[in-house]
C-alpha cells in the first residue's frame, strides 16, 4: 500500500532542502543556514499562501470601508450632468469602450495580478501577526506561571542555605 501523504511529505522535504540550498547559494538570509529555522519560515509562509481563505482576511476587512484603499478593477459609467449625461454614458459605453477594449483588458489582467499579489502579501502579514499573537500568549502563560510559582514559594526560602 502506497501512502500518498507519506510520499508527499518526502517530496516536500526534498523540495524544501533544494530551495534552501539554492537560496543560500544566491546569497539568501544567513539565518537559513539553520535548517530548522528555515523550515519554520517555510511553514508559516506556505500556510499564508495555501491554507488561508484569501477572501476572508483581516486587513482587507479593516480597510474595506475606505474607498481610497480599494483597487478598482472594473468600469462603472456614470455622469453628473442631468441632460447630456445619458448621451455621454452612451458614447463611453458603446463607442469609446469597444475601441479601447483591448487596452482596457490588457491593463485589467495586470491589475488582477497585482491584486492577487497584494492579497498574498496581506495574508503573509496576517499569518505573521497570528504567529506573533500565539507566541505572545505562550510567553504570557509562562510569565504568569513563573509569577504564581514565585508567590507560592515560602518567604525567606531563598536564604535558607545561605
Amino acid at each position: 500500500m502506497i501512502d500518498v501523504d507519506r510520499v508527499m511529505r518526502e517530496i516536500e522535504d526534498d523540495v524544501r532542502r533544494a530551495r534552501r540550498k539554492r537560496l543560500l547559494a544566491r546569497g539568501g538570509a544567513a539565518e537559513y543556514r539553520d535548517a530548522d529555522l528555515y523550515e519554520h519560515v517555510d511553514i508559516v509562509l506556505r500556510r499564508a499562501l495555501e491554507a488561508r481563505d484569501h477572501g476572508a482576511l483581516l486587513l482587507p476587512d479593516f480597510l474595506s470601508s475606505d474607498p481610497d484603499w480599494q483597487l478598482t478593477t472594473h468600469l462603472r459609467f456614470s455622469s453628473h450632468r442631468p441632460v447630456v449625461g445619458p448621451v455621454l454614458i452612451f458614447i463611453k459605453r458603446r463607442l469609446l469602450l469597444p475601441l479601447t477594449r483591448w487596452l482596457y483588458e490588457y491593463s485589467l489582467e495586470n491589475f488582477r495580478r497585482q491584486q492577487k499579489l497584494n492579497t498574498i502579501l496581506l495574508a503573509c502579514i496576517e499569518e505573521l501577526a497570528i504567529e506573533n499573537a500565539k507566541l505572545r500568549k505562550g510567553l504570557e502563560g509562562v510569565e504568569g506561571q513563573e509569577r504564581r510559582e514565585g508567590q507560592e514559594r515560602p518567604e525567606g526560602r531563598e536564604g535558607t542555605h545561605a
Binding site: I2, V4, R19
Partner: protein, 395 residues
C-alpha cells in the same frame, strides 16, 4: 415519484460537466420514477444560441421539455458584469445582475416552474451559477434538491448566495470539499444532504489503436480535456517545458482536447485537439500518468476516468477537491509550484512500480465509491428520507 431535473443544456452531445451528470442520473432515475428534464434549446454554453427545437421530446429513455432562450449572452456585457461582481464592492443588485448576464435567460422555463412546479414531488437543479437555477429554485424551494457543482472560485463568495443556499430542501454534493464549501456559506444548519460524486462504468477492453500513428511515443504524460488557461494549461505547459530543459528525459506531454489557447512550439508537447472515444481510450491505456492542472474543480471526472483505467495522476494541490481526492484514494500526487511539480513528476517516472500501485489504488477507490448502482442507491435513500420528513410534517 414525479421528478423534474433542471439543467442549462441537455443531450447526448455533452460528454462531461453538470450536463452529463444530470443526464446519467435522470436516465437511471427514470427506471423507477416519472422523470421530466426541464432545459433550454441551447447547445452552445457561450452564446446560449437556440439550436434544439422548443417543446417536448425524448432523449434516450427520458422525457425532455425544452424552452427557448430569450436573449443570447453578450460576452462584453458579461465580462463587464463579472469585473464588477467580483470586485469586492458590488451591490446586491449588481451581484444578481451577474446571474442575468451569465444566463441562460429562459423566462418560459421560469414561468413553467412558477405555474406547474408544484405538480412535481421533487425538482433537482444542477449548477447554481446558471440563471435558470438561481432564479428558478426559489420558485419551488420546498421541493428542490440542489446539485451545486460548486468550486472554490470567486463566485462562491458572492453575498447574495448565502440566502440562496439556505433555500433548497436538500443537497447532492460531489465531494466532501464541496459540502464544506457550501456549509461555510450557510447561515443555518445544512438540510439533508448526500455526497455522491458521479458514477462510472468499468473501463472496456484495451483498444487496438497504435498511438505511434499519432506521433506519440512512450513514456507520455496525458492531459485530457479543454486546453484552456482557466484549466491551468498555461502553467502546466510552462512547467513541462522547464522540466524538459532541466531533465534528460524522453517523456512527452500529450494534450487531448479542444484547444482554446496558443500551444508552445516544443518537441515534447503534442496537442491532438478533440479526440474520439477510441483515441481517448488508447491514451488512457498507454499513458504513464495523468496530469490535472486545474485550480477549480468540483469533482474532476477526468481524474476518476484516469483511475478507472488504473492510471496514477499528478494534480494541482491548490485545488482542495483534487488534493482531497488524491489523499482519499491514495491514487495521485499533488503539487503547488514548479519545484514540487518537477520533483513529483521525476519521482513518478522513475518509480514505475509505485506509479502502477497508485493507479491500482485509484481504481480500487473508484470501485468503492463511484459505480452507478451505489450512486443511485444514495440518491434513492435521500428521496425516501425527504418523503418521510414530509409525511411527519403533515401529521
Amino acid at each position: 415519484m414525479k421528478i423534474a431535473c433542471v439543467v442549462h443544456r441537455y443531450g447526448t452531445d455533452f460528454a462531461g460537466g453538470s450536463e452529463a451528470h444530470c443526464r446519467h442520473i435522470a436516465e437511471r432515475l427514470a427506471a423507477h420514477h416519472d422523470v421530466t428534464v426541464l432545459t433550454t434549446c441551447a447547445k452552445d454554453h457561450i452564446s446560449w444560441r437556440n439550436e434544439y427545437p422548443a417543446g417536448e421530446t425524448r432523449v434516450e429513455s427520458v422525457r425532455v421539455r425544452r424552452f427557448p432562450v430569450a436573449r443570447q449572452r453578450s460576452l462584453n456585457r458579461f465580462k463587464d458584469a463579472s469585473d464588477l461582481a467580483f470586485s469586492g464592492t458590488a451591490s446586491e443588485a449588481e451581484q444578481i445582475e451577474w446571474f442575468r448576464e451569465n444566463g441562460p435567460d429562459v423566462p418560459e422555463l421560469l414561468a413553467f416552474l412558477r405555474e406547474r412546479g408544484h405538480e412535481f414531488d421533487r425538482v433537482l437543479f444542477w449548477a447554481f451559477r446558471y440563471a435558470e437555477v438561481y432564479f428558478g429554485l426559489p420558485l419551488v424551494a420546498d421541493r428542490s434538491i440542489l446539485v451545486p457543482t460548486a468550486e472554490e472560485d470567486p463566485l462562491i463568495r458572492m453575498e447574495v448566495l448565502a440566502p440562496f443556499f439556505s433555500l433548497p430542501a436538500a443537497f447532492v454534493f460531489l465531494t466532501p470539499e464541496e459540502q464544506a464549501l457550501i456549509e461555510r456559506r450557510l447561515a443555518g444548519p445544512l438540510p439533508p444532504s448526500i455526497i455522491v460524486g458521479s458514477g462510472l462504468e468499468p473501463a472496456g477492453p484495451r483498444p487496438l489503436l497504435r498511438l505511434e500513428a499519432l506521433g506519440i511515443t512512450k513514456p507520455f504524460v496525458l492531459y485530457l480535456g479543454r486546453v484552456d488557461p482557466n484549466k491551468g494549461c498555461e502553467a502546466l505547459m510552462q512547467h513541462f517545458v522547464r522540466f524538459k530543459a532541466e531533465h534528460d528525459t524522453a517523456v512527452q506531454l500529450v494534450m487531448a482536447g479542444p484547444v482554446n489557447m496558443p500551444i508552445p512550439e516544443h518537441p515534447g508537447i503534442k496537442a491532438l485537439g478533440f479526440v474520439d472515444d477510441q483515441v481517448r481510450e488508447a491514451l488512457l491505456t498507454g499513458a504513464s500518468l495523468l496530469v490535472v492542472p486545474s485550480r477549480f474543480e468540483s469533482l474532476s471526472l477526468v481524474l476518476l476516468e484516469g483511475w478507472n483505467h488504473g492510471l496514477a495522476a499528478l494534480v494541482n494541490g491548490h485545488c482542495s477537491v483534487l488534493k482531497g481526492q488524491a489523499l482519499r484514494a491514495n491514487g495521485a500526487l499533488y503539487y503547488h509550484n514548479y519545484d514540487e511539480f518537477a520533483r513529483a513528476l521525476e519521482y513518478l517516472l522513475a518509480n514505475g512500480s509505485v506509479t502502477t500501485e497508485l493507479g491500482r489504488q485509484g481504481l480500487d477507490y473508484v470501485e468503492r465509491e463511484y459505480r452507478w448502482p451505489s450512486v443511485i442507491e444514495k440518491i434513492e435513500d435521500l428521496l425516501a428520507q425527504l418523503q418521510v420528513q414530509e409525511v411527519r410534517r403533515a401529521r
